[in-house]
């Protein structure tokens, strides 16, 4: 019995008929050749979020990002006029990595006037142009203007910095993010600067962790011991139903009930949660920045339900933003490191606390998030190894897992459009991920 209304077709999945309802193969999550096709047709072609503008303070601030899946490293830098640019991290002289500290394969950040190569001292201005060659007169036919750092397409949306490794991106960032670019604009991201950032290498395909975070069907079961006994029993008997699902293919979103700010019944929550007024859903007391959710961007809480707790958006291909009713947001980014391995990055972003109580409430929200993430992450390794065993070749997805079905289909669509689909006989007949 549905507690929340579904579309007229009877299910969220059938509302998008191109998705189908059949069991699916998960070979797309361990096949090495398919993984390489994802890199070539998606990760080297799409806009990828590399961080927030708040990481770049005054002009000259920079950070590096390692993309081992593309054998590339990039430098993201803020010029003195405030422009954010990205360059490949390669000196034009003899190919040394330009910006690094101690360990060449580790990311770094800092502030500088110019980038100076550690090897022979070539220097580059913040706009990438070559400024200085050590013993320039020793070189032959030097044209400094043609020896700037190699640029990477870079643009900013609502303070999120994106890069695109395609030398000629097929879409602008705003086009690629549409309709989310406008539908989520105006959220006070820039005021939520109290940030925790974590990362973890996980022994699963990158898509499996997206699967885990775009369905809440698992929550009452996998995380049941995180709730009080009474609450967990109730959750398990009800299961999970989303308030709303929507595809903006290749992007997607799920809206969920939940939250407890503050909870109706103190017995629902654990003793420390009552004292700190905080929990998985964040601090119970909303920051002024969200104005009691009176000015939410149009795509948030689409069902306008009063039990609204969280909206999770997948920003194609590998970035998620989760908006909590309590007034903070989470990001997840998934970087493929191999068919069965990925780097998971997450940020928790709160309004700066005004006092120790608020600071402690945020610390507890982080602590709680991490307990859940541990459970989610370890389950992925258990899934990855068993789908690779090929004992079972198709798997069941229910209506609450529509976004899992959709994301794999969207990947498949792009691989098929740009790759070598004849190599993947195990993939179902092409179906349009946007349901048309």
């Amino acid at each position: 019995m549905a507690h929340f209304p579904k579309p007229l077709e009877g299910s969220w999945t059938e509302h998008y008929p191109g998705l189908g309802t059949a069991p699916v193969s998960y070979k797309d999550s361990y096949d090495p050749d398919y993984w390489q096709q994802e890199i070539d047709t998606i990760f080297k072609k799409e806009w990828l979020c590399v961080g927030r503008v708040e990481r770049l303070g005054r002009g000259g601030s920079y950070f590096t990002r390692e993309f081992p899946w593309a054998k590339r490293s990039i430098v993201v830098v803020k010029d003195r006029d405030g422009t954010v640019r990205a360059f490949y991290n390669v000196c034009r002289h003899r190919g040394n990595k330009l910006v690094w500290d101690d360990f060449p394969n580790e990311e770094t950040s800092g502030v500088c006037r110019q980038f100076s190569c550690k090897y022979h001292g070539w220097r580059y201005d913040l706009d990438g142009s070559l400024a200085f060659i050590q013993q320039e007169e020793e070189f032959f036919n030097v044209d400094k203007d043609s020896l700037g750092l190699v640029p990477v397409a870079c643009d900013v949306w609502e303070g999120f910095i994106f890069v695109n490794l395609d030398p000629e991106p097929q879409q602008t960032l705003a086009e690629a993010l549409a309709p989310l670019s406008e539908g989520l604009a105006g959220y006070p991201f820039g005021e939520m600067t109290q940030t925790y950032e974590v990362r973890s290498e996980i022994n699963s395909n990158w898509k499996l962790f997206i699967d885990a975070f775009v369905e809440f069907y698992h929550a009452p079961v996998l995380h049941q011991r995180q709730a009080t006994a009474e609450e967990s029993q109730k959750l398990a008997s009800i299961g999970f139903e989303g308030l709303h699902y929507e595809l903006f293919s290749p992007h997607s979103m799920v809206s969920s009930w939940g939250g407890m700010s503050p909870p109706k019944d103190p017995r629902m929550v654990k003793p420390i949660e009552n004292l700190l007024r905080s929990g998985l859903f964040g601090p119970w007391d909303k920051p002024a920045a969200v104005n009691d959710n009176q000015n939410l961007p149009p795509l948030l809480n689409p069902s306008k339900h009063r039990a609204w707790g969280i909206d999770s958006f997948v920003l194609w291909p590998n970035f998620m933003i989760l908006f909590w009713e309590t007034g903070w947001y989470l990001t997840y980014t998934y970087w493929p490191l191999g068919p069965s391995k990925h780097l998971f990055e997450s940020t928790l972003n709160f309004a700066p606390p005004e006092n120790a109580s608020q600071r402690a409430a945020q610390e507890f929200a982080f602590s709680t998030f991490k307990e859940y993430a541990f459970q989610d992450a370890n389950t992925l390794e258990a899934t990855q190894t068993m789908i690779e065993s090929e004992v079972v070749d198709t798997f069941m997805l229910n209506d609450q897992e529509i976004l899992c079905r959709h994301h794999h289909a969207a990947v498949r669509e792009q691989v098929e459009a740009n790759g070598r689909p004849e190599s993947y006989p195990w993939m179902p007949t092409p179906a349009s991920a946007n349901g048309e």
Binding site: E197, I202, I272, E363, F374, A377, T379
Partner: protein, 111 residues
């Protein structure tokens, strides 16, 4: 930080637990993993009845300019966040079934 950390006079009863006054999340998490359930239960039992007073005490100061004693107190509260999960939910130091999972803290708000 070590067990030489000092606390405000009103919180002298928490002195046996000042080795929980640790600067970073990583240190607090590792302290949790290295502690027995008895040790965490004792810390939890001592801290929970004082938590509201701890926050009231710390709230009297500018968060960005906390006196050392108040700062130590707040760090104890952060460690309590970590210790609360084994005590209130897991009955063991580690998250159950979290085997090989780990997290690296890349950046955290300073205190």
């Amino acid at each position: 930080m070590s067990n030489t950390a000092t606390l405000p006079a009103d919180f002298a009863d928490l002195a046996p637990f000042t080795d929980w006054a640790l600067d970073t999340w990583r240190e607090r998490y590792e302290k949790r993993l290295a502690s027995s359930m008895d040790e965490m239960q004792a810390f939890y039992d001592a801290m929970m009845p004082r938590l509201t007073e701890i926050l009231e005490h710390c709230d009297r100061f500018d968060l960005h300019d906390l006196p050392d004693e108040a700062r130590n107190l707040l760090l104890l509260a952060f460690s309590l966040c970590e210790a609360s999960f084994p005590v209130e939910a897991w009955r063991q130091p580690r998250v159950p079934d979290s085997g090989s999972a780990d997290l690296e803290m890349v950046r955290e708000p300073p205190l």
